[in-house]
Amino acid sequence: MTRLSDKDDGEGLSAADYDAFCRFLRERTGLSFTEAKRYFVDRRVAERMAAVGAPDFRHYLNLLRFQASGEELQLLVNRMTVNETYFFREMYQLDCLVNAALDEVVRGRELGSRVRIWSVGCATGEEPYSIAITLLERWSRVDDFEIELHASDIDSHVLARAREGIYEERSLQALPRHLIAKYFTRLDDQRWQIMEELRESIDFSLVNIADPQQMAAFRGMDVIFCRNLLIYFDDLGRREAASMFYDALSPCGFVCLGHSESMSRMSSLFVPRRFPDAILYQKPQS
């Protein structure tokens, strides 16, 4: 039988093991869990330990630390992340993108040049596809530029679903019917698939934003969407993520955070910009 801890009661990790596990996870992924999340963490660790047949937590932690393929860490991360979202969530930021921010980004640029937008923590793809639809429907200069859409997540399972682009009614609830008809194919009573042209236009990739080497592949971005992701990081993790976004952005590029998040509480690197639709955070010119 799998034992989660050396404690007699067998209920969850011991305090020392929980602390060791959280420190390890934070170091490797940036995800930060406090004591308040103990039940959530215990359940998922126990589930994975049972799946791999780990006799106790120490063996399991060693597997996470030293497995050459990193497969078990990836599987655990897939279970530790929350991926609930839907199309056109926090629409005011997409309004801001097409009503003001992008016009500012392309000011002075040659026609036909590239505009790069990155959805960080894209989960099952609703956000990058929402960005794509909003650009195509509402940005008047969409045909003047070549727009690259990048999307990334640390969870390999949700990325596979994002590439597949199949959604149920709940994900589409905020989408007007005419946009569903235009961009989706109905598969059956419950499911719709987003059109292939959109699926093919987005570059989905597995990225751990706590890893500087992986983040170094992203440069010259004009807008980064990172909404409701950094709430899972601690202060230092948020600060480091902000620093990596700074390096990934072009001068004057923007970061969009979730409605409950504020860059000024994470880092002094960005200038808050108040647009009519939303507050974005801008990398200074120099």
Binding site: R116, E148, H150, P212, A217, L236, D247
Partner: protein, 210 residues
């Protein structure tokens, strides 16, 4: 359609390719992006694995004027999280540069209280009252068992009323009702100061839930 498939970007040289000595040299590179990368690299490894990293990061901080590099240097020192890193930051609390000073205060707050407190607590007796105010503010933010006793000591002995008021504010932010008798002592020390009376009254209301 204006959406185009993203080009795969060439990965920049990984942060770990240069040895420690090389990164130390790059801290003084003319290009701010290189200095930022060097700070990230030096902060990304345990400080004992990069001999000289903490003193180099701290020394660069003294002359760095580019805000983004300054932020990277501070973040690297926070990541080091050692007593040596905390000690390297503390002298900048006396800086005339408000941006640097605020960055240092914020950084010390994000480091482990156990390594920061031994470096900050002595500043509660510094000659400069501004420094004592910053120290009181910082001590108030640190989750450390000596926090209440240290701030109580300030309220009991510091001759400067503004330092005492900073300690009161720090205790009120902590929200521990055990702080109320300590705060009330201040009224006896400065009976004619209306702002002290106001602060003590505010503390009574806070801790009594009125």
């Amino acid at each position: 359609m204006a959406l185009v498939k993203a080009r795969k970007m060439a990965t920049a040289a990984p942060a770990g390719t240069a040895d420690g000595g090389d990164w130390l040299t790059r801290l003084d590179d003319a290009d701010p992006a290189q200095r930022r990368r060097a700070a990230h690299a030096l902060g990304a490894h345990p400080p004992d694995g990069r001999p000289g990293a903490v003193p180099a990061l701290s020394a660069r901080l003294a002359r760095e004027e580019e805000p983004s590099v300054r932020e990277a240097l501070l973040t690297a020192l926070v990541r080091a999280g050692t007593g040596e890193a905390a000690a390297a930051l503390v002298p900048y609390l006396a800086s005339e540069d408000v941006g640097l000073r605020n960055g240092v205060i914020e950084s010390l707050q994000q480091m482990p209280a156990a390594v920061v407190m031994p470096e900050v607590a002595p500043l509660l007796e510094a000659g400069d009252s501004d420094l004592r105010i910053f120290a009181a503010q910082l001590v108030g933010k640190l989750p450390h068992p000596d926090r209440l006793a240290l701030l109580a000591g300030v309220i009991g002995r510091d001759p400067h009323v503004n330092v005492c008021l900073a300690a009161v504010e720090a205790l009120m932010d902590g929200g521990d009702p055990a702080a109320l008798p300590v705060v009330e002592r201040l009224a006896a020390r400065f009976p004619d100061d209306p702002f002290v009376a106001f602060s003590v009254d505010a503390a009574r209301r806070l801790f009594s839930g009125a």
